[in-house]
């Protein structure tokens, strides 16, 4: 496969991944944390309140980045599922296992922050509209990915089951995305379209994009760190891991 760059090819091997990724994680943590602090302080303290919603709109800076990333991570898990089923890459399986809990937490936080936002604006924390229900389904899909790994003792079969659930479950992501356009919902339609209008005023946008970028960077760091942990766990019998751990203990 010539279309895969050599560094990426190298990262597909657990041993090289384990060694090469280590220095990146700290940078991702630092960059993500600083970015989140800057974006959140900017959004919470230095941006004017919204004309109707007042200060309660500021939860946008928490809710939108988290909800966006929760969907993005599910898509990435589904792609890893395809890679695992077709090319049988070990690291694709490791990625699915590492990213699922992160996505699960993000989805839970998106639901909770949405409820907190709903109380002062809509006048209710929860309604059964299409956007909210499809996001709840996303949470259960993530939960399913985590549980599936635990209940299937054979790792190879677990990985196959995970991949299939991830791929089929990915159908839910466009449903979440378009639920506010296809159906009547209490949730408002999207404010930012990739190839269209942005209906958020410019003064609100910069901290929002900082937070979207930072939460992605921070989550990438957490996922990569967890992947390294899983590599150690799954390769514990390998000589290179034992050499590494001996080297560490000296």
């Amino acid at each position: 496969m010539k279309f895969v760059p050599s560094w990426l090819n190298r990262l597909a091997s657990p041993q090289h991944f384990f060694i090469d990724i280590k220095p990146w994680i700290m940078w991702l943590y630092v960059l993500g944390t600083i970015g989140l602090l800057v974006g959140s302080v900017w959004g919470l303290a230095f941006v004017p309140p919204e004309r109707y919603q007042g200060d309660s709109f500021r939860i946008l800076y928490v809710h939108a980045p988290i909800a966006h990333l929760a969907q993005l991570i599910y898509i990435s898990i589904a792609i890893a599922g395809v890679v695992h089923l077709v090319w049988k890459l070990k690291m694709a399986d490791v990625y699915m296992s590492a990213a699922a809990p992160v996505g699960c937490w993000l989805t839970a936080l998106a639901l909770v922050s949405g409820m907190i936002w709903g109380m002062p604006t809509w006048g209710t924390a929860w309604v059964w509209d299409a956007r909210i229900v499809s996001t709840l389904i996303l949470f259960f899909l993530y939960f399913g990915l985590i549980v599936l790994r635990r209940v299937i003792p054979n790792p190879a079969r677990a990985a196959t089951a995970l991949s299939i659930l991830a791929i089929v479950g990915a159908i839910n992501v466009p449903i979440i995305k378009f639920s506010v356009e296809w159906f009547n919902t209490l949730h408002q339609p999207a404010s930012i379209e990739l190839f269209g209008d942005v209906s958020i005023d410019r003064v609100f946008l910069v901290p929002l994009f900082i937070n979207i970028a930072s939460i992605s960077v921070l989550s990438a760091g957490i996922i990569l760190a967890y992947m390294r942990y899983l590599v150690v766990e799954r390769n514990a019998s390998m000589t290179w891991i034992q050499e590494w751990s001996r080297g560490k203990n000296q």
């Binding site: 809509w122 006048g123 449903i175 999207a190």
Partner: protein, 143 residues
């Protein structure tokens, strides 16, 4: 790509496209059940069940909100872009974001005379985020 990989990829694509089609057909067939509320024209054209708990939504017609002189009673009109309108009676506290010209969803029952008795009122905020100093300067501000 080796042939066994190509075969597996084909199976996956068929699996995905097949399930996607199934799910999309199902949810569009169930559209009436997935929609969270009825629109004003459905209410006015008698497409909704009477005297049963339903939700209806639209825009609060500007200038239509009348508060009772005593108590929490309030009446207002819900309208759509084509000026199809129905009347709502409600007794209770309105959400802070409820205002004329903004979206709202009411839960309650529709009576035979076309008046909607709301048990609960929700405010539907739109996707526009505008700082207060620009209020009134933008055309979408006051529909």
């Amino acid at each position: 790509m080796k042939s066994h990989r190509r075969r597996r990829l084909t199976i996956i694509i068929f699996l995905f496209v097949g399930s996607l089609t199934t799910v999309l057909i199902s949810i569009f067939a169930l559209q009436n059940y997935i929609d969270h509320f009825y629109l004003p024209d459905q209410i006015v054209n008698g497409e909704v069940p009477l005297e049963r708990k339903i939700r209806a939504g639209g825009m609060v017609k500007p200038g239509s909100v009348i508060h009772d002189s005593t108590g929490l009673g309030v009446q207002f009109d819900i309208t759509d872009l084509n000026d199809v309108t129905f009347r709502v009676h409600y007794e209770g506290i309105l959400p802070p974001l409820f205002r004329e010209g903004q979206g709202t969803i009411v839960a309650g029952t529709l009576s035979e005379d076309g008046v909607f008795s709301a048990r609960r009122v929700f405010a539907k905020h739109d996707e526009e985020y505008v700082p207060p100093e620009l209020k009134g300067m933008q055309e979408h501000d006051d529909p």
